[in-house]
């Protein structure tokens, strides 16, 4: 009597497992400067919606790139590749798709998902069907997509420049950028203050012979916003 029922249950379990939409447990490494903002790294196979900082998007490529992964940047024709190299992104394993049409965008990202671990892409119009197909592709390939703009059903990273160090009235030069990151990942918001300052790399340690300067972050954690703290029992 029980056999048909248990078989059905097992089938359903299988089905659920195959259609599992829960975020994967695989994490991608991040650059040490971003370790406080993403303490466990980036979730593989998910979408992040990042607004307010292209630099941060390039920095997110650095961790997987230094691990030997291929990375791709889609729809950012004015990208400063030197900044990417400055973060330690290996340009030999970086693919740029500068200007795809709106109808080629999904195809390009899906094709790049086959070979890369992280894709940074400017947002594009997308149909709900394509959206879910793309999400499924990313999940099955364990590729993380960082969209530099709003994106439905994505973890959000809102970067706000708080200030710059080093520039005066007619003297000095830009040295350090202070960023506040408001990150909402799996409905849990957190705020981080990051300082991106150029670390004078010695020519020997720099793969680009001292012509580029490297960043090293000195992050400081801000107190959580009150909306977050009010959740716990007090």
């Amino acid at each position: 009597m029980l056999h048909p029922a248990s078989a059905t249950v097992a089938d359903l379990h299988d089905l659920i497992e195959r259609r599992d939409t829960s975020p994967s447990t695989v994490r991608l490494p991040v650059h040490p400067a971003l370790a406080d903002a993403f303490p466990t790294g980036l979730a593989a196979g998910t979408v992040y919606s990042l607004t307010g900082s292209t630099t941060l998007a390039l920095a997110l490529l650095a961790g997987p790139s230094q691990n030997g992964s291929w990375c791709a940047i889609v729809g950012l024709p004015d990208l400063g590749v030197e900044a990417a190299a400055g973060w330690g992104v290996d340009l030999d394993r970086l693919i740029l798709v500068p200007d795809p049409d709106a109808n080629q965008w999904v195809g390009a990202v899906a094709a790049l998902a086959e070979i890369t671990d992280v894709i940074v892409a400017a947002p594009s119009r997308i149909t709900p069907g394509d959206l879910s197909r793309l999400a499924a592709r990313l999940r099955s390939r364990q590729t993380t997509l960082v969209v530099t703009g709003p994106w439905p059903r994505a973890a959000t990273v809102q970067a706000t420049t708080v200030g710059w160090d080093g520039l005066g009235q007619g003297h000095g030069c830009l040295l350090r950028q202070h960023l506040r990151l408001d990150i909402t990942e799996r409905h849990e918001p957190r705020s981080i203050h990051l300082t991106l300052n150029p670390h004078q790399a010695t020519p020997q340690s720099s793969p680009l012979a001292g012509s580029l300067q490297y960043f090293a972050g000195t992050p400081t954690v801000l107190p959580r916003p009150s909306s977050n703290t009010s959740r716990g029992p007090q």
Binding site: P98, G170, L174, A209
Partner: protein, 530 residues
């Protein structure tokens, strides 16, 4: 059973037919100077060769340039270039090959062939030598000497005894030792590659080759080592040179003739498939890899469209076809048929390398096959410029520092990137994340809405207070901090180059940092720190 013959220490001498063009160094550059004028060829400050006119004035080889010019003040002085000599010698080699195949170049001006085959063909060595002499002189003219002897050394020495009147000398088989006997030991200098030994022999009282040949070989070998053994063999007329036959590299060019004049891009590439496969097959047969090809399209109008394509690894048949298609697509405009029909396609390998040098290592330096396939597939849908690879190059302006190349094109080598050079005027601080491909026009205004100008001496007319971005929507922002001007001076020596630029860093009220350029009163946004 037949036993193999005993190996003797000196194998039987090889009959060599040697062709000598006297004064080749001078003749090779003769056209660069007035006919009959005195000419000096110089290397490292020494005279390497001189024309007869200069020699008559007392110039000898090995003289310092200053001394030579003192003796012959009106001599033209040219640098000695072995490459030119070799190149100029090429027609002579070809002319000899017409008469007797298998030419071995000893050095420019001196070539040798095995006399055995030529003797059998022409009947005797003398007739063979005459055939070469006349064959080459009829084609090229000029002074030419031919010698036949046992071994290269004897033949070369025999050739030096000829004169313009009797340009042919024959040393009979076995007579080389007798012929060489009276020559001084200094003739060995070039052969044994040791300047000390001839001098030492002379000091020992051994002045002629016959005196050296009379010594016991084992003793000479013990005293002078391998050089001594070789010298003794040469002096005894036992020279068995290995003549490497000059082999002209095989022509790997593939030409595809299109008979019915085709105007569709796809049609042309389809017709090229077989030819391109043949091209790659030839390369594989020769165990070669090709990194650079030249694709030549012959148009019906008689014009040709030539383009060189470089590949980061090496070309496969599909890669070559892609290059042909891209070149055709560039020629056609946007899916239109070509304005001129294509009559032929040639694929010329520009640089090939033995495949042996490029065996894939365990951790090969080229990307995995599936990456290449995925990106090549993506490139087919997006177009050639749709998928790019990038690198950083030395330069002052940020857009110049960025190198973007279509996937499948080779990026500049580290040497070509010149990153380690100083580049004065380079940007300090962190590089901006957005570098505009086309600098965007902006306005930078002072507090009283006057445009900020920079004088040639680098003085700013007023502190920048407003930044106006006239792009999609007019937007005026207050400038809260700024620095500059930082002069960027490049290619001012070129008339077509840009004028001097001045760079400013601006920070606006929204904490947005900008890099702007000022050029003769115009302002451009070069990059944005975002």
């Amino acid at each position: 059973m037949k036993t193999p013959p005993m190996k003797t220490s000196s194998p039987a001498p090889v009959r060599v037919l040697l062709v000598w063009c006297p004064q080749w160094s001078i003749r090779a550059v003769r056209e660069q100077a007035a006919p009959g004028a005195a000419l000096l060829l110089i290397a490292k400050g020494m005279v390497v060769a001189c024309s007869p006119a200069a020699a008559a004035a007392g110039v000898t080889t090995g003289l310092r340039v200053r001394e030579a010019q003192l003796r012959c003040p009106d001599a033209a002085v040219l640098p000695h270039d072995p490459a030119v000599e070799s190149r100029e010698f090429e027609p002579v080699l070809r002319a000899i090959e017409e008469v007797v195949p298998g030419v071995h170049t000893i050095r420019p001006g001196l070539a040798a062939v095995r006399a055995g085959g030529a003797r059998r063909f022409y009947g005797s060595e003398h007739l063979a030598a005459q055939a070469i002499l006349h064959g080459v002189q009829d084609r090229l003219g000029g002074d030419l000497r031919v010698a036949v002897a046992d071994g290269l050394f004897a033949a070369e020495q025999a050739a030096y005894t000829t004169t313009a009147e009797s340009p042919l000398v024959l040393v009979h088989p076995g007579a080389s030792r007798r012929f060489l006997a009276q020559l001084p030991v200094s003739t060995l200098e070039r052969e044994v590659d040791s300047t000390r030994m001839p001098g030492l022999l002379r000091r020992m009282g051994i002045r002629r080759l016959s005196e050296l040949a009379d010594l016991r070989r084992a003793e000479v070998h013990a005293r002078f080592g391998p050089d001594g053994l070789r010298a003794h063999q040469l002096a005894s007329g036992e020279d068995a040179p290995v003549l490497d036959v000059r082999s002209a590299p095989k022509d790997l060019t593939v030409r595809i003739d299109l008979e019915d004049h085709v105007t569709q891009v796809d049609q042309v590439t389809d017709l090229c498939i077989a030819g391109v496969d043949r091209f790659v097959q030839h390369l594989i047969e020769q165990a070669l890899l090709c990194h650079e090809i030249r694709v030549i399209l012959d148009l019906e109008s008689g014009a040709t469209d030539t383009r060189v394509w470089r590949h980061p690894w090496h070309f496969s048949a599909a890669d070559v076809l892609d290059r042909v298609r891209w070149q055709l697509q560039d020629l056609a405009s946007d899916d239109e048929p070509l304005t001129h029909a294509i009559t032929g396609v040639s694929v010329v390998p520009e640089s090939v390398d033995p495949a042996l040098h490029h065996a894939t290592g365990l951790w090969g330096d080229r990307p995995d096959e599936h990456v290449v396939q995925a990106l090549t597939g993506l490139q087919k849908t997006l177009g050639r410029g749709g998928v790019l690879t990038c690198a950083v190059r030395g330069g002052r302006l940020l857009d110049e520092r960025r190198v973007l190349r279509p996937w499948g094109d080779a990026l500049p080598t580290p040497r070509e990137r010149r990153l380690e050079q100083p580049w004065p005027g380079n940007l300090p601080g962190p590089p901006p994340a957005t570098v505009f491909t086309r600098a965007r026009p902006v306005s930078v205004l002072t507090e009283i809405d006057q445009p900020v100008t920079v004088s040639p001496r680098g003085e700013v007319s007023g502190a920048p207070a407003w930044l106006r971005l006239p792009e999609d929507r007019p937007d005026t922002r207050r400038i809260t901090a700024w620095a500059g001007p930082w002069p960027v001076q490049q290619r001012w020596w070129q008339a077509t180059g840009r004028g001097p630029l001045d760079r400013f860093q601006l920070l606006d009220e929204r904490e947005q940092a900008w890099l702007v350029l000022s050029e003769a009163g115009h302002w451009w946004a070069e990059a944005r720190y975002d």
